[in-house]
Subunit: 517 residues, 2 copies
């Protein structure tokens, strides 16, 4: 993957090309190509979940008789070199209604890579039982606004409790705020777009206090259960919708993302997540945190649902444009823990193979501490401008850690904020230049979800590490798509793609090529 590896005696590019050819041949049931990619002879092995076929003739006969393989989508690919001409390749896949796994021994001989042994397996994933817990939902089922028939008919939306639902108050994750809030007289336009396309409201789900956290822990309501990572936080601030979607109680979470509040719970809960280009989805009717960065977007379990709901929210159609490359920055990878970075690299390899778009290593000549500090300064200043009056009048309304974040905003001088805005402008310009070359790929979060008992220091470490990654999109105002493909042990962690401003529809449309429709 690195330019320095060009002189490597290992032909990784050739291996991956052969691997990609195999995937295409498998999905197209191209028997001649499949047979050609397997070594000829009696030593070749092909095993499924329960039995092995020995010899390329038997394998060819099996293929000829089965009428095609079930559709599958690469999720993670791992390569282990046995020799310079032998590789062990693991592919983790999604299948309709479940997951799958394939391991292969590839050998290069006479210049050609062929499979000498393969093992493929899979199993259905049982649908999780919906759990209707108070830590997740503020209002469940009650305000089910019936939408029109359309492309989202049957899609159940968990609405973050920052977004106006007609006939309901906005709670903002803070009981004192809820008490004082007016009853909304109309749905927020973003929600209305989903309803107009046929979606229905499953309920109003909790947010971190005034959306000013990334962990999904709320002292007033409790911590929603993360079924994708039991014993771990769900991430926030779109905590309730993400938890509800992960457990199957809703299909889409409609939430906000200022500093990562959709991408972080998406990463922690194993969900697809989309933060739109700043300004393309209306934020009217949504309680603000920091307008310079606030966006309204989505999380979903299912890639096809995210794509359809996202295109409705945009009211736009894809152009068909594809990136020239997927850009990988060693600097950004190093901001995640090594095992998170490895999981994200395995996902990136799957993405590249599935799309045929190459991975290119790029340099980012900026300092993460600097860009993150600038973001936090501007965010805190705007947050205080929005909520300082309420917090001054209700000093005990929010927890100590959130109160401290707001208080930081109250102490900033106009000069500090102006300097930070200049730093953000530089970061934004550099990212725009970079994104002209391809889509930037980075970890959605610096770690998988921390344990629920990680404590203030554990949460702060996870938040600080992750903000270095998530605030890049926020500062540049560019769209971000989180793919829930990485695994650190059993814990999900996201691969995040950043694309040029306004390319949201093409970014969402990528899902049609890499995931079950």
């Amino acid at each position: 993957m690195n330019a320095e590896l060009r002189d490597d005696p290992r032909d990784e590019q050739g291996l991956l090309e052969a691997f990609a050819r195999y995937e295409r041949a498998l999905m197209g049931n191209d028997l001649a190509a499949l047979d050609d990619l397997f070594a000829t002879g009696e030593a070749t092995l092909r095993a499924d979940g329960v039995a092995a076929l020995v010899g390329s003739d038997h394998i060819a006969q099996f293929r000829a008789g089965r009428g095609g393989a079930p559709a599958r989508w690469l999720r993670r690919v791992h390569v282990r070199w046995i020799t310079d001409h032998d590789a062990y390749v693991v592919a983790e896949t999604d299948r309709v209604g479940g997951q799958g796994l394939q391991t292969q021994w590839w050998r290069q001989a006479d210049g050609a890579w062929r499979v000498h042994a393969a093992h493929v397996s899979g199993g259905p994933v049982s649908a999780p039982e919906p759990v209707q817990d108070r830590a997740t939902w503020r209002v469940l089922g009650g305000p089910a606004v019936s939408g029109a028939a359309g492309p989202l008919t049957g899609v159940r939306v968990a609405v973050k409790d920052l977004i106006a639902v007609q006939g309901q108050r906005v709670g903002g994750g803070v009981p004192t705020w809820l008490e004082q809030a007016p009853v909304e007289t109309a749905n927020a336009p973003a929600l209305q777009r989903l309803l107009d396309a046929g979606a229905e409201v499953a309920g109003i789900a909790h947010t971190d206090e005034l959306a000013f956290s990334l962990m999904g822990v709320n002292e007033h309501h409790g911590t929603p259960v993360n079924v994708a990572a039991p014993g771990r936080v769900p991430g926030g601030s779109t905590s309730g919708p993400a938890a509800a979607v992960a457990m199957g109680a809703a299909d889409v979470g409609l939430g906000t993302d200022t500093a990562g509040s959709l991408r972080v719970p998406g990463s922690y809960c194993g969900l697809y997540a989309w933060r739109p280009t700043h300004g393309v989805v209306p934020v009217d009717g949504v309680l603000p945190l920091a307008q310079h960065f606030d966006t309204v977007g989505l999380v979903a379990r299912d890639a096809g649902v995210l794509r359809r709901a996202g295109l409705e929210l945009l009211g736009a159609q894809p152009s068909g444009a594809r990136p020239h490359a997927f850009l990988r920055s060693e600097l950004l990878m190093s901001l995640a823990t090594p095992e998170t970075a490895r999981a994200v690299d395995a996902s990136l390899l799957a993405l590249s193979v599935a799309t045929g778009v190459p991975v290119r290593d790029v340099d980012i000549d900026l300092d993460p501490a600097t860009w993150t500090a600038a973001f936090r300064t501007v965010q805190a200043a705007q947050a205080w401008a929005n909520h300082g009056e309420f917090l001054t009048a209700n000093p005990d309304a929010v927890s100590a850690s959130v109160a401290a974040r707001f208080r930081n905003g109250s102490e900033l001088s106009p000069e500090e904020v102006a300097t930070a805005r200049e730093v953000i402008a530089v970061t934004r310009q550099r990212l725009e230049e970079l994104l002209a070359q391809g889509w930037l790929c980075l970890p959605s979060t610096s770690t998988p979800a921390p344990p629920v008992d990680a404590g203030p220091d554990g949460f702060e470490a996870a938040r600080t590490g992750t903000l270095q990654l998530t605030t890049l999109a926020s500062q540049a105002g560019v769209p971000a798509l989180g793919l829930p493909w990485g695994r650190v042990g059993p814990l999900p962690v996201g691969l995040c793609l950043l694309a040029p401003q306004g390319s949201d529809a093409d970014l969402l449309d990528l899902l049609a090529r890499i995931a079950p429709a």
Copy 2:
């Protein structure tokens, strides 16, 4: 496996020892040993059916948390050398209620073999729907003789239509025979032993005509369906009981074996099969074919059922003795097709690993054509002595091919028969000497089941090839156990073990160590 390989730079013995250690550690949930047998580091992979764990730490955590692996039994092991110090090892297993498969990449470093990547998968096997077809059963359910409560309670026996069932006639696979047969006034003693232990009769199932065939094709009743190898013959002459057991309509088939009539359908239908030492199970009440070789024994899907029913039929208990070695003869292997021999070798490797008993190559200084011809001479002479009168009186009662076999017996001179008996005595003595060194392992049949439309020439080729293998036990009067572990493509083929005369209980007891109880 060969002595000539001792100088091989490949440490196959060390690999297999490590592999066996791993199996023991897995079944004993010996976490320290399991961790030690996996390579340490972040590159190590362990995948199950749907997802991969990356890094030895995660793998160790997973092991520590799962509370042991499900019990499994090795069925076939395949080794592919990648380098002199890297091997790809495939293990096909039985599990309770299903099958499983494991592939591993082992690497030898600093003298020690360790797993660098593993993939394990499995799935339940759905119970086949019982099919109650006329080609399999002559009498179904009707004569269900209720046995006493005992170790075989609930075990349903399909009785070969050569064996007396009280109140029923013996049909012998020939309608004219059935018409003339008397109603039996008692169960054959062998059947009575099973009933006394609690078994019940599921029905009377067809045999090849007068038991004088190995294919399971019967012109009068049709060919029973072989669910383990659709479109293939079930093998005979215990054809109906084997087909019934394979399809789940009975648990045990009680049949006879003169020249392979239990071992052949066992091999073709994927069943465990036991031919006892000549004389240890009474043949009273059983229509004879050739008394010098006739035995009454069993086939079963389940190893535990075969073991329990076999011990009841013997009325004996195991001594606990184990063989010093499993003896492998290249000559005997060469009597099967190459792919059958490879499948049997893979099974033998599994057996050796599972039991810890080594495999030793041995020479057999005898000519297969000679020993087979001698057997056929004596068999045909006795068969004619038994049934010549009936066939002379009813010349159209049996099909042309079976009639020809009997006719051969009518044309033999006493000198020819006496010479053949002398050859058999030599073969018997040589085998007795060999079996003092260990248990002899050979293919149960020379091929998997032939297609139902193979025609007379195809059937004769399969019969001739297989008789070279099966008649060894018949001539020596030694017990034989067929393990249905081989696969040629999807088709089952048996591994057959011959043990010294009278060691039946120990031979059956082997099943307790290598199969689900």
